[in-house]
């Protein structure tokens, strides 16, 4: 029977990568100082209510352990407690950036609808409902495209249209995923001419 796993959280800090605890628990089985960590490695165990969870190194993370892992063994950790500090390997420094910013790049000229508020964005009126719209659907001014939750209050986000935009539009792609936290002015959907 395989043990449950949890992926460590990644935080970039200058030339270092920090791996942080993904949950509250007791940390144990740390990897030794100077050891190498690569994607998919088990880099310790987190005990949550007596149950062991293997802590996995996420994709695109590779480096040499500088600390503090072993010092924390059998210590309680919070969500976000730094359990490893990694120095990046030479080839890694010039390589790909860690994926800590999942935002999709949007062309300046793209037809996007922006979030009116900071909050959580939903594609559907309730978890059991169908999404308001799906990619490829025609979209008209005044039409609801999602809901935004701010302080437990749900407000419908409607497509308002924009002067100078084509009159026949359809949904190209969701830029904010269902349930995503969005900030005011963040792009929610991209539209294209139908």
């Amino acid at each position: 029977m395989s043990r449950p796993t949890l992926e460590l959280l990644v935080q970039r800090h200058g030339d270092e990568l920090w791996l942080n605890a993904p949950a509250v628990g007791l940390f144990t089985d740390a990897q030794p100082l100077d050891g190498l960590l690569s994607p998919g490695d088990a880099a310790g165990v987190l005990m949550i209510l007596g149950r062991a969870h293997d802590l996995l190194v996420p994709a695109q993370v590779q480096g040499r352990i500088q600390g503090p892992g072993p010092e924390l063994v059998r210590q309680p950790v919070d969500y976000g407690t730094r359990v490893y500090c990694l120095s990046l390997l030479e080839d890694e420094l010039s390589g790909t950036e860690p994926n800590d910013s999942p935002n999709i790049a949007v062309d300046e000229k793209a037809l996007v609808l922006k979030s009116p508020q900071t909050g959580r964005f939903y594609h559907r009126a309730s978890p059991t409902d169908e999404p308001f719209i799906s990619p490829g659907d025609r979209i008209h001014p005044g039409q609801a495209i999602g809901m935004i939750e701010v302080m437990k209050t749900f407000t419908t986000v409607a497509f308002s249209g924009d002067e100078g935009w084509p009159t026949r539009l359809r949904l190209k792609v969701w830029l904010a995923q269902d349930g995503a936290e969005v900030t005011q002015g963040e792009a929610l959907i991209e539209l294209e001419e139908d």
Binding site: V24, G25, D78, Y79, G80, R120, M151, T153, T155
Partner: protein, 454 residues
């Protein structure tokens, strides 16, 4: 007594529970989310444990994380506050399973009070009056029509597993009831996997009156009289006062006694509230539901009775006895509470998170006394993740007129800038003749019209 107490909540209630814990010499440890970690209220705790990111589903609502956090910080008891996990029976059971004292009633009691029909049955067995309606769950639409004909329209169809208005229909005649029955059943089936319905008479423009209960493990149950909570918007309370202007002294004693007897019959331990709906025509008080937790508006009951409800809640959870006798608990003066929320009352109560550039609470403006329960400070950012409550102003006077005057001055002296608050709504309600006379109900907010712009 416990040495450390874990608070599985945030903000104002976390601050309130920490204060009660310290008064008993208990060290408060609090759950925080990543976005709450650096707040002044979190810094004032003896220790905090970060459960997860700002989204409450990934932090404050994580049952296992909260229990693990309490255990690894050496806490012997856990206070759930209100909201979040406060009425989650599975959470209470998980605490028990890991040797943590859950500050609240037993998991089975939380469970039975959470479902509508079982809670009504328990209330009726305990001697409380129910809203006229069906005897249990309805077999079919014919039985619904039969009951409605007997009690009279309008009626309300409700789902046993319902909540948040789902599976609920108001029907004014036979035709609407036929259609409403099918719709409500289908909706409840879809949302809760349980299409069972019952039917009640629809009582309009009633008053929401609730009784505060405290029980210990030794069989004693006290009541701390009632709170009047009829100033509401969409079932969210805005202003509460105690005692209720709708009851005379005899009704007050009778209601309190009935509620305490019902709670005793349930074997209730801890702080709880039994909610009643007062029929506008007959004046009868009908059981609505029981909340198995501390309520936001508990402070007004503390003012008029002098009992620290949160402190007693912790003491009885530790197995101690309630020291007071019911006769010792008397009503002293009158208290009123206004909830200052980060919402714009002129724009349909739209939430207004943002930077609180000024926040100055008035002090000692008299003629009575003012208590301010809050977790925010000038310079804070009000986050979008949580509910909009910023502060509760609680005015206590020797009588209702003095309490209202104290509140009026407090509202006038309150300075909030950067976010829009519900303060103007409270000022308008307090200035209205309807509120001043005490003759108001849940039907409308006196002194305020939905389209009002100040």
């Amino acid at each position: 007594m416990f040495r450390r107490l874990f608070i599985a909540n945030r903000g104002e209630v976390a601050v309130r529970v920490a204060r009660a814990a310290r008064s008993l010499g208990i060290s408060p440890v609090c759950a925080v989310s990543q976005s709450d970690r650096e707040t002044p209220w979190a810094s004032a705790m003896d220790e905090v444990v970060c459960l997860g990111p700002g989204n409450p589903e990934l932090s404050y609502l994580r049952v296992e994380a909260a229990v693990q956090a309490a255990l690894q910080t050496g806490c012997a008891a856990l206070h759930p506050g209100w909201g979040f996990l406060a009425e989650n029976a599975r959470f209470a059971a998980l605490c028990q399973q890991h040797g943590l004292t859950f500050i609240g009633p037993s998991p089975s009691l939380i469970d039975s009070m959470g479902l509508k029909w079982p809670s009504k049955q328990a209330a009726r067995r305990a001697g409380l009056t129910l809203i006229p309606g069906s005897e249990g769950l309805l077999r079919d639409v014919d039985e619904a029509l039969e009951v409605a004909a007997r009690i009279g329209y309008p009626v309300m169809i409700k789902a046993d597993a319902g909540g948040g208005g789902r599976g609920m229909r108001r029907c004014t005649n036979e035709e609407e009831l036929r259609a409403g029955y099918a719709q409500a059943s289908a909706e409840a089936m879809g949302a809760f996997g349980n299409g069972d319905l019952f039917l009640e008479k629809c009582l309009q423009n009633g008053r929401h009156i609730e009784v505060q209960i405290l029980g210990d493990r030794w069989g004693k149950v006290l009541h701390l009289y009632e709170r009047e909570c009829s100033i509401q918007r969409k079932h969210q309370k805005l202003i509460e006062e105690s005692p209720s202007p709708a009851l005379d002294q005899q009704q007050r004693e009778e209601l309190g006694t009935a509620a305490a007897q019902a709670a005793a019959a349930l074997g209730y331990v801890g702080a709880g509230t039994i909610e009643f709906l007062m029929d506008a025509e007959s004046g009868d008080l009908h059981f609505m539901e029981m909340n198995t937790r501390l309520q936001v508006e508990h402070g007004i009951s503390e003012c008029i009775t002098g009992v620290d409800i949160v402190r007693e809640q912790i003491r009885v959870a530790a197995g101690e006895k309630l020291e007071q006798a019911q006769e010792d608990i008397t009503v002293s003066g009158h208290a009123i509470e206004c909830r200052i929320n980060a919402e714009d009352p002129t724009r349909n109560f739209q939430p207004t998170p943002g930077d609180l550039t000024r926040f100055q609470v008035p002090r000692d403006l008299g003629p009575g006394s003012l208590r301010v329960d809050t977790h925010v400070q000038e310079g804070d950012t009000i986050p979008p993740h949580y509910d909009s409550l910023m502060a509760k102003l609680i005015a206590h006077g020797k009588d209702r007129a003095e309490a209202l005057e104290t509140m009026r001055r407090a509202l006038d002296g309150l300075v909030i800038e950067g976010v829009t608050s519900t303060t103007p709504l409270h000022q308008a309600v307090l200035a209205s003749g309807e509120f001043q006379s005490g003759a108001y109900n849940t039907g409308s907010i006196p002194g305020w019209t939905p389209q009002q712009v100040s």
